[in-house]
Amino acid sequence: MKGSLLVTFLQFFADLVIVLLIIYSSYIIGLSIFRRNWVNTKLFSETVASIISSISSSNFDISSRIFVGKSCDVKILNDKVIVKIGNDVYSHEIIAPNYIKIKDSNSTCLDNSITIKKIGEEVWIE
């Protein structure tokens, strides 16, 4: 009897783990299907913010063009990069030296690309 009780207990525990696994994998799959745009906006805004941060810390005048495809709703507002893909919006802080002026600007999406420009102590996107 002792052995069968242990088997029953282990089977219950195995079932519990299966249920947890199903719930968790559903969450991950759901995240990748329904929040795909959110993940893309997050990655996109972080990447653009990092590039702007690098360009700001340089002592040269730079013009850098980035191909972004169709998702080119990008703007700089209050030292943050704001990206919109579909209905999802994500903003990421730009870390830069405080003598650099990061101008509020919008992407013009010329040739499916955005241009980051730094002239003197000013940085903006076109």
């Binding site: 052995g3 069968s4 242990l6 088997v7 282990l10 089977q11 525990f13 195995a14 783990v17 299966i18 947890l20 696994l21 968790y24 994998s25 991950i28 993940v39 997050k42 972080e46 913010a49 990092s50 941060s53 690098s54 700001s56 810390s57 340089s58 002592n59 030292d79 990421h92 802080e93 730009i94 870390i95 830069a96 030296p97 405080n98 003598y99 650099i100």
Partner: protein, 135 residues
């Protein structure tokens, strides 16, 4: 004693089977859990790298020669003594050291830190040093 065979009971086989199933499922569960944690963690790491980039090229801290050229990742001792980071974020703590002197700028909770080698210009000499940035 010769010729005796040890037979595992059916209960024992069931127990072993269940243990293997539980181990496999727990492994899968942890795999998913770790994957999710990694997605969340990248934001903090990215902020540290952005800050490192901004600090090693920061005119308020780096060495400038007589012609007005700035040298990336070469810190000027005189500028470090002025205690002015010139960064638009105050979430970071920067510790610059030449292994004789240490300069601490800013403050943070020290959740994550990143170390890199740098050079310090001091009294017309270039010294080897390190910078630790904490977030």
């Amino acid at each position: 004693m010769k010729g005796q065979v040890w037979i595992i009971s059916e209960n024992m086989i069931d127990i072993l089977k269940n243990i293997i199933v539980i181990a496999v499922l727990l492994g899968l569960f942890l795999l998913f859990a770790i994957y999710n944690i990694k997605i969340n963690e990248t934001t903090e790491e990215r902020k540290i790298f952005d800050a490192v980039n901004s600090i090693i090229g920061n005119k308020c801290l780096i060495y400038e020669d007589e012609s007005g050229n700035f040298y990336r990742s070469i810190f000027d001792e005189e500028k470090l003594n002025q205690d002015n980071v010139c960064l638009n974020s105050n979430e970071f703590e920067i510790e610059v050291s030449d292994f004789e002197n240490t300069w601490r700028l800013g403050s943070s909770q020290h959740k994550k830190s990143f170390t890199l080698p740098i050079t310090i210009y001091s009294k017309e000499k270039f010294k080897f040093g390190k910078m630790v940035i904490s977030y």
